[in-house]
């Protein structure tokens, strides 16, 4: 199938049609304005739910009752991360029923979903719209998937559902605790994961919603993070997740001296630029370096008697400790990464569960990403214009989903603490393999060999002029990396597009090409 390609606002060649659907090329940050109405559903009636008891005997029956048939879009969510047992089970059932050409619309996929390759091979699943990594990433990258993958941010996923870009036929929501009416939460039960925010859009907009739990309790399930009023069927199963893979027992600060050095430089930069001040807010992920940064922030806050108004989660034991110590007033949490995070969310009213609607959705009346002062993110590659890639490895293979990464770029100061090279692969390049986020939104790159500040942040450059921080032009960092590693060859990619990367507003920011196997 020959697709027409056009150059988008970043100069990337992107398709105008994918999987039979028209696509709009990226037009620049804030440029695209939708002129359509939100998607809507047929009106439901209580007459169909007279007793309010929606229990159904098993998942297969529920899927059949929901009208499972060829070509449908089925959604699942990643709040069980690599411990999810449900998604594979759904497609195993569909395969047994001889269903073909389903679209899987997960909020993210993990290595535990590798078995879905079998269901793509036998025709049950046509393609995946969601992050792909590990074996699934390899499969898609090598052009083996029938359709084209579509990668969206957490906010972009909400936007796509709300706008009707993706119409979910059946949403299957894994619930650590639920009642027969369909109310559900992630706070308790053997598969407790904290919150179910990623499933919110699906509960609101899917044609049929199935809640599956291994911890069924009597009505009411409080709090109802997912409201039963959206739910069609409730299924009780013995096991829906592997707890030790859902949340880690404890997240840990990195012990690597090199990564700690990067974390220290990042913290010094924030302190010396005056960003750590009373009432500020920050977001730091669950990676070892990010945890170290949050920990160092805590030290400075204690020392200087500074309080943060809120911290944006992924929460973890270190953030929880800061909340309990009174260093931050609130944790606005998108996902809990360890058991301490789950406990805190259960017990502490200051630990708030949020959804991609409130935090990240771009087609709403604001979201709270721009209210965050400092955000710490990662990247696989950054080019000399600060455009960054989180999706593909430098050899072209799909490596990571977007997660909340694109959405967080709207925060006041976006910092990417990354090593200058990984193994022998330079991170700062002339050109990135894939653009996930435009450089105009990326402010600072912190590496162990120097810090690059986006020239459009003159205020930061001025504030840091008199410090001893190793601030260098980004081109110089690139040269240093190449001097150490050598200049890598271009990856061997075909013309064929295997996946597209959506921007937060639903436009196409880049396309991923097929990797030609060695």
């Amino acid at each position: 199938m020959a697709t027409k390609l056009v150059k988008n606002a970043l100069g990337r060649l992107v398709p105008t049609e994918i999987n039979g659907k028209k696509q709009i090329p990226f037009q620049g940050v804030g440029k695209y304005r939708p002129d359509y109405r939100k998607y809507n559903l047929p009106v439901a009636t209580c007459a169909d739910f007279p007793t309010g008891n929606k229990l159904i005997v098993d998942l297969k029956t529920a899927l059949e009752a929901a009208g499972l048939r060829d070509g449908m879009t089925i959604s699942t969510h990643h709040h069980f991360r690599n411990g999810d047992l449900l998604a594979v089970e759904i497609f195993r059932i569909a395969s047994e029923l001889g269903i073909k050409d389903l679209v899987w619309f997960p909020s993210a996929s993990f290595p535990c979903h590798a078995e879905i390759i079998d269901y793509m091979e036998n025709g049950t699943v046509h393609h995946i719209e969601g992050s792909m990594n590990g074996p699934l990433g390899r499969y898609c990258s090598e052009g083996k998937m029938k359709g084209v993958g579509v990668l969206r941010s957490h906010g972009g996923r909400y936007q796509a559902v709300q706008d009707g870009e993706v119409q979910i036929d059946i949403a299957v929501i894994a619930a650590p605790t639920a009642d027969p009416f369909g109310n559900a939460n992630g706070l308790t039960g053997p598969s407790a994961c904290g919150l179910l925010g990623f499933a919110l859009a699906d509960s609101q907009y899917a044609h049929k919603v199935i809640v599956v739990t291994d911890n069924l309790i009597d009505f009411p399930c409080i709090p109802w993070q997912i409201q039963g009023n959206y739910v069609d069927y409730v299924v009780k199963m013995d096991k829906i997740g592997e707890p030790e893979k859902i949340v880690s027992g404890t997240t840990r600060i990195t012990k690597s001296p090199d990564r700690l050095l990067i974390a220290e430089l990042t913290t010094r930069l924030c302190r010396e630029a005056g960003l750590i001040k009373n009432g500020f807010s920050f977001q730091a992920g669950a990676g070892g370096t990010s945890l170290a940064i949050a920990y160092y922030f805590g030290q400075i806050m204690r020392e200087k008697n500074i309080k943060a108004r809120f911290a944006r989660g992924g929460s973890n034991q270190y953030l929880v400790k800061m909340l309990e110590e009174g260093l931050v007033d609130y944790i606005l949490d998108g996902q809990t990464f360890d058991l301490e995070g789950v406990r805190s969310m259960r017990e502490n009213p200051g630990h708030v569960d949020t959804s991609p609607f409130t935090s990240y959705n771009y087609h709403g009346k604001g979201n709270f990403a721009p209210l965050v002062d400092i955000v710490i993110l990662g990247a696989t590659e950054v080019d000399i214009h600060f455009n960054a890639n989180v999706n593909t490895h430098s050899d072209g293979y799909l490596l990571h989903g977007i997660g909340g990464w694109q959405n967080c770029l709207f925060s006041k100061t976006v910092i990417l603490p990354i090593p200058l090279f990984r193994d022998r692969i330079p991170v700062i390049r002339n050109e990135v393999t894939t653009i996930t986020g435009p450089g105009e939104l990326i402010d600072v790159i912190v590496t162990e060999r120097g810090i690059a500040i986006n020239p459009n942040r003159q205020d930061l450059l001025d504030a840091l002029k008199k410090t001893r921080l190793p601030i260098k032009p980004i081109e110089q960092l690139k040269i240093e990396a190449e001097k150490i590693c050598g200049i890598p060859e271009k990856p061997n990619l075909g013309e064929e597009i295997v996946a597209i990367i959506k921007w937060v507003d639903g436009t196409v920011i880049d396309a991923v090409r097929r990797v030609i196997p060695l």
Binding site: P257, D258, L260, L261, S394, D395, G396, R422, D423, R424, I425, E448, R449, I484, C485, G486, P488, E489, P491, N492, L518
Partner: protein
């Protein structure tokens, strides 16, 4: 000679290194089996390197296996050369570029507060070592390298001294004992190394022999830069000969003590309090001072115990040591911080140095502070205190401008 040889490291935990295996064959040219995690990005370059090197070593026919975990090219060169040298008898060396950044010499009396040990056959630890700002780094060929890996480590360390940027730290190598150690020198001395650590020194002769060998190597390569010596004393006998060791050569700039081996030699346990090594440490400080060189303390081996390290450094400083070994970069800032002069020390030093400058300005031969005469060594010590304080960030570089205002 054998027909097959291998060098380097492989396995799931190996990074920035590679494993290279060669089997000489009688025909068929060079056959390569390459497994590299960066093959799509550096595959062409790596294949070319293998061909160039086999050509350089006059090997027309061989089967080779490369398992690459992202090795930088100087590492890969060392691995290929080491494997090749197991199957051919050659004195040729395949050398990476000696980068201009590494052509520096150090001063006899520079700070040697911290020296970071890097196991000589673990290249991933070399790459960022200089970023952690220890005063020196030690590429170790001795105890941290397994006996079977000693030969290949020499080539790796040699290449690292040439090609890996250590960002201005003093570049040291700890050689092996006896004849192997003297052979080690041939590999490292021509690479602009700054200092050689000699382990388990027991007599001045060992230093004299090493110094002679070093000077010979420099002369034969037509090189002219200082290569200092730091003997490590690790036995009862060494302690008894400490002063003569310290005086063995004008290139000896520091005397270090190794307490693990010393306590083993005495047949006693090393304790955290260190009473059992009190005498030995005093001897080292005394011998070093008498010879006009630096006294350097042993390492503190519990990386996780930062408070313990701080206590040990404080005591070390109070005994008269000027530096310590580090086995982890995280120890460096604590060592620097603790060896840095205290506030009252700095204040006193500022007064003395100011008085010295005033006396100089007035053309006075004698420095006085109030009614007290100040001797030249006291001035010298005060100047050292000031520069240490500046280095530790406890004093501004231009402190004298605002002083007394």
């Amino acid at each position: 000679m054998k027909r097959t040889g291998a060098a380097g490291n492989r396995g799931p935990d190996i990074r920035s290194d590679c494993y290279f295996e060669i089997e000489l064959t009688d025909s068929g040219g060079i056959q390569m089996d390459i497994r590299s995690k960066v093959d799509r990005l550096f595959g062409t370059e790596n294949r070319q390197l293998i061909r160039d090197m086999l050509d350089f070593f006059d090997i027309p026919n061989a089967k080779v296996i490369l398992e690459d975990s992202g090795a930088l090219s100087f590492v890969m060169m060392a691995r290929i050369e080491a494997a090749v040298k197991k199957v051919t008898d050659t004195n040729k060396e395949y050398l990476p570029e000696l980068i201009p950044e590494n052509r520096y010499s150090t001063q006899r009396d520079r700070y040697r507060r911290s020296r970071l040990y890097l196991p000589g056959n673990t290249p991933k630890l070399f790459i960022n070592a200089g970023l952690h700002q220890s005063d020196g780094i030690i590429l170790d060929l001795e105890d941290s390298v397994a006996p079977a890996k000693k030969d290949e480590a020499r080539m790796l360390v040699r290449n690292a001294l040439r090609r890996n940027d250590f960002y201005g730290t003093e570049r040291m190598v700890r050689i092996n004992q006896h004849s192997r150690g003297l052979k080690d020198l041939e590999f490292v001395v021509p690479q602009h190394v700054n200092l050689i650590l000699m382990p388990k020194c027991e007599s001045a002769d060992q230093l004299v022999a090493a110094d002679l060998k070093i000077q010979g190597i420099l002369t034969s390569h037509q090189l002219d830069y200082p290569v200092y010596l730091m003997p490590i004393i690790e036995s009862a006998k060494g302690i008894m000969n400490a002063y003569s060791i310290a005086c063995a050569s004008e290139n000896v700039v520091a005397l270090a003590i190794g307490l693990e081996d010393y306590t083993a030699d005495l047949g006693i346990q090393r304790t955290p309090e260190g009473k059992e090594t009190f005498f030995a440490r005093n001897v080292i400080v005394n011998a070093a001072r008498a010879a006009g060189i630096q006294a350097i303390d042993s390492v503190f081996s519990d990386v996780a115990d930062q408070d313990g390290l701080r206590t040990v450094v404080k005591e070390s400083k109070s005994l008269g040591f000027e530096g310590m070994g580090c086995i982890h970069p995280r120890q460096v800032p604590i060592i620097h911080e603790t060896f840095a002069p205290g506030d009252s020390e700095i204040e006193k030093a500022k007064k003395i140095v100011t008085a010295f400058y005033e006396a100089e300005e007035k053309g006075l031969g004698v420095v006085a502070l109030g009614s007290k005469m100040i001797d030249p060594p006291v001035v010298k010590r005060a100047q050292k205190t000031i520069s240490l304080a500046i280095d530790a960030g406890k004093l501004a570089k231009n402190w004298s401008k605002s002083y007394g205002n």
